[in-house]
Amino acid sequence: MADLTAALARRFAEKLAAAGLTDPGAAVAACLDDRLAFSRPSPHEELLAGLVDRLGVGCVLLAPPAQPHRAILEFLAGSQAPAIRPRDCETRTFFHDIPVIAEPTVEAAAAALSRRKGAYLPGVGILAHGALSPEQAFVTVSSVAFAGFVKFFADFLAANRAGAVDAAYAAAFAAACRTLPPPPTIVPALAKGPFIDRETMLAAMAQAGRATVELGLVDSVFGNISYNLDGVLAISQTGAALDELPGAMDLVPLDGSSCAGLTASSELAAHAALSALDGRKAILHGHPRFAVVMSMDCEDLATCPRRERCHVDCARQRFAGETPIVPGEVGCGPRGLVHTMPPALAANGGRPGVIVCGHGVFTMGANDFGDALAALCAIETSCRARYFAALGIPTETL
């Protein structure tokens, strides 16, 4: 049992590095079965063991973030303590805030983690726990990195507009920009459609999902994908990793004749609504970071009375270039993106993509995922260029 537990701990530590969330070998996972096992020896073993014990959980991950996340989170922790309050939509739905742990003690870390899924310990890294499985902690680390990134860049642009960037923020910004991964310019070739049988279709979806993650257009455990095969929507399951889709897709009849979609992505309703409005078969949804950052940039931000609500309830018609930005929450609530995103994507005879404010991008392709992936790349690349242009920084100097 103990060997299995250690192997499990190592697997998740390695998964963090593979996802680019930590440098190779930097993460430490502590997993408990009948005995506590660590992925590697670490000076923080006592802290992690104490947390597993105090929180009564099965796993604690310590993830010293890789750049640019380290520069970002260190700065946010320093300026926002006792808690970082992200404004992106997914984080608002599933987190409340990210506590900053004041000191590297079991007491302080347990206090933060007993009320939140993840927290940041300055100088050390992201701490996250998983009650059932290390995967929960992995998802949390990924969410913290994403939320921090979006907040850091979005706030910087707002502060720059307001003339309120201080020396510390400028230095952190320069450091983060130096280590930004390159924009997704080269779009890999994907299987050509239309797909006429389930096997080919599912393989094409798995390929497109992997490419989306590899291009950095979504973190593995987020996003979703679907294909309409003769009125049956194949869609990724809720919580499925986009780069591990085989076996994690549901086939949902669009005539509503079955409840097979019970485990489908939380955006099933939005995908189904899109299918009803739009003849295109392939739908891809990712969380490209600069598209999300730019969706939260609004000239009215300082004065807008709905400033805190604009991710769900913005009164302005907004665009990033040609791409509309719509409000909407995850899922089927009254403010759900199911009401806003599909009409915007299907409008004008079918747009290449739509950005959901503070959340991510939906794109479509007529017969396969080639156009959908290209549109996702193009939207992110152009939003990234727009971001730096808005700061007066030419993109090519980065």
Binding site: G239, S258, C259, G333
Partner: protein, 571 residues
């Protein structure tokens, strides 16, 4: 940190033998130790001398959840606790609908019913106090007649003719909408000659200490519910009720079929909830303020079966007639029979007879079950005398463990394993493995006990976790309550139930599944292999669960765990 006492909470003691009811201020130390709902109900039960279920001095406790009076989504439940007629141990079940909310808004933390009335009686509570109303002939008629005999109310719990006949399959009905099971749950109340409890509490709930924080907690809960496919999704319970699960159990090859001999049903496609809904066009109904109401009422006032009843009235009996299942469910509702348990019993008899039940024999067989009354012997496919719910244990190992160890009998939502093993929330786990499942059941049971103590719908456990409960409770009480502190409340609640069971002589042999699941394969196919549950691994997982719970090898609380129980509430 100690929790503040609810400023207005009283406990109402009703002795039906004398007709005397007295209202007492809640003991502050008990209020600190057991916030409300299930925690309080079982604590009150544990504090009383042990009594058999039909003894006049035995108590039936109804306790609204600690948050049931407030305007929160999916939070209006009460808990009912008493002596389990099947085991002599604890019986603690969730009571949906408006009763919990009404009791809370009357300032009651619990109602403790003892004694025995000479005539069939209903207990009615409102702002004027408590009244014992003679039910007369209505008690022996259907549950609709009993409900109609009650004064106007916000919530009601009603037993039917099956309870009157002493049937171990007798269930309760809440607000005429929600089946409250398992079978036998109505007996401790019926033994007091009490066939209904109803309450009316016009007006607002109590004021929270921090209204803004409560609004924040409510918003957080609403967001999570909206984002949960199983609750608010297009195929979710808010659309089809838990009958939506049948397509999933069929697809996963864990649909209990022909008395659990098979795990796939050739006619499952005819039983998809959307087909039934398309024909009957029912309207949604549910608990007060629920954003995803899971009950569905047809034009003629019929209530559609929930998932367990739907599945067991069809596949478990080898029947594929949706209309017959609806009619059978209606008959159970009128008779006050808990439908899944009744179906399981008939499935066992059909297996013994060597042939499926004929469809035209179902309704007469259900009527005969009521007439059999006391003499019904429990189904063999049961744990602690209670029929298994509509998920084959061979198809999800954490679920299998949780069904075996449930303190009041098998409860599919008791360890929240359906969340991760079937519905992928909060994360998908390998359903054909016991790895990590002991811990999962331990944590899931604690979380479910917390929700049941605060008044939360068990289904909302798929979306709302301890963090959100802690936010809501902190807002109401005006002091910080942590998720970890709440987990301690859940842990303590289950341990109190274990203590009651141990006193009644329950041990490790009672925490087991029928032998079939360890000996026979299910129906494999479509790339899914349904093997027998590995016995050794099950036993190892159960032993690990016992260690986590502070139980000895016989499943009874250890001296240290019991000592910890007497210590101040760990919040």
């Amino acid at each position: 940190m100690p929790l503040m006492e609810h400023p207005t909470a009283h406990i109402l003691f009703c002795d039906l033998s004398t007709g005397v009811c007295r209202r007492e201020q809640q003991d502050p130390s008990l209020a600190r130790q057991a916030l409300g709902g299930r925690a309080l109900a079982v604590a009150l039960l544990a504090a009383r001398p042990r009594a058999v279920w039909d003894a006049p001095d035995g108590a039936v406790v109804l306790a609204p959840g600690a948050l049931a009076g407030f305007d929160l989504p999916g939070v209006s439940f009460a808990a009912l606790a008493g002596t389990n007629p099947h085991t002599g141990g604890v019986l603690a079940v969730a009571v949906p609908g408006g009763l919990g909310r009404a009791l809370a808004r009357l300032g009651l933390a619990a109602v403790v019913v003892t004694g025995r009335s000479n005539t069939p009686t209903a207990l009615f509570l409102d702002a004027d106090g408590v009244r014992l109303l003679p039910l007369g002939a209505a008690a022996g008629q259907g549950t609709s007649a009993a409900l109609a005999a009650l004064p106007s109310h916000d919530g009601a719990l009603v037993a039917g003719p099956a309870a009157r006949a002493g049937s171990p399959l007798a269930g309760l009905w809440a607000d005429g909408l929600h089946a409250v099971g398992p079978g036998g749950v109505a007996l401790p109340l019926a033994a007091k000659n009490c066939f209904a409890v109803a309450a009316r509490a016009q007006g607002e709930g109590p004021a929270p200490a921090d209204p803004a924080a409560l609004a924040g907690a409510r918003a957080a809960m609403e967001r999570l519910v909206s984002a949960a496919p199983a609750l608010a999704g297009p195929c979710g319970f808010g659309r089809y009720g838990t009958a939506a699960l049948l397509d999933l159990t069929a697809g996963r090859r864990m649909l209990p079929t022909r008395n659990f001999r098979e795990t796939a049903f050739e006619a499952a496609g005819q039983l998809s909830a959307p087909g039934l809904f398309a024909r009957l066009s029912p309207r949604a109904a549910g608990c007060p303020g629920c954003p995803t109401p899971c009950r569905h009422v047809t034009a003629d006032g019929g209530v559609l079966p929930d998932g367990d009843a739907w599945s067991h009235l069809t596949a478990l009996l080898g029947l594929a007639d949706p209309d017959l299942a609806v009619a059978a469910h209606a008959a159970c509702r009128q008779a006050g029979l808990f439908a899944p348990g009744a179906a399981a019993l008939l499935a066992g008899r059909a297996e013994a007879a060597g042939r499926d039940l004929a469809s035209d024999a179902l309704l007469p067989a259900l009527a005969a079950l009521v007439a059999e009354g006391l003499s019904v012997s429990p189904s063999a496919m049961a744990v602690k005398g209670v029929a298994l719910p509509a998920f084959d244990p061979r198809g999800a190992y954490g679920l299998a463990l949780s069904l075996a160890v449930g303190t009041s009998g098998p409860d599919a939502w008791g360890g929240l394993c359906l969340g991760h093993e079937l519905l992928r929330k909060p994360v998908a786990t390998d359903r054909f493995s016991f790895a990590g499942k002991a811990r999962a059941v331990f944590l899931g049971e604690n979380a479910a006990a917390v929700a049941a103590s605060l008044g939360g719908c068990p289904l909302f456990g798929l979306a709302v976790g301890l963090e959100e409960w802690a936010l809501a409770l902190s807002a109401v009480r005006g002091e910080g309550v942590s998720a970890a502190g709440l987990a301690g409340l859940g842990q303590r609640t289950v341990l109190v139930e274990r203590t009651i069971n141990a006193r009644a002589g329950l041990g490790v042999a009672d925490d087991d599944l029928p032998e079939r699941f360890f000996a026979e394969t299910g129906s494999s196919g479509e790339g899914i292999v349904v093997a027998p549950l590995p016995r050794e691994e099950f036993l190892a997982a159960r032993a690990a669960y016992y260690r986590l719970r502070g139980l000895n090898a016989d499943g009874r609380p250890t001296t240290q765990a019991v000592a910890a129980l007497e210590s101040p509430w760990p919040i």
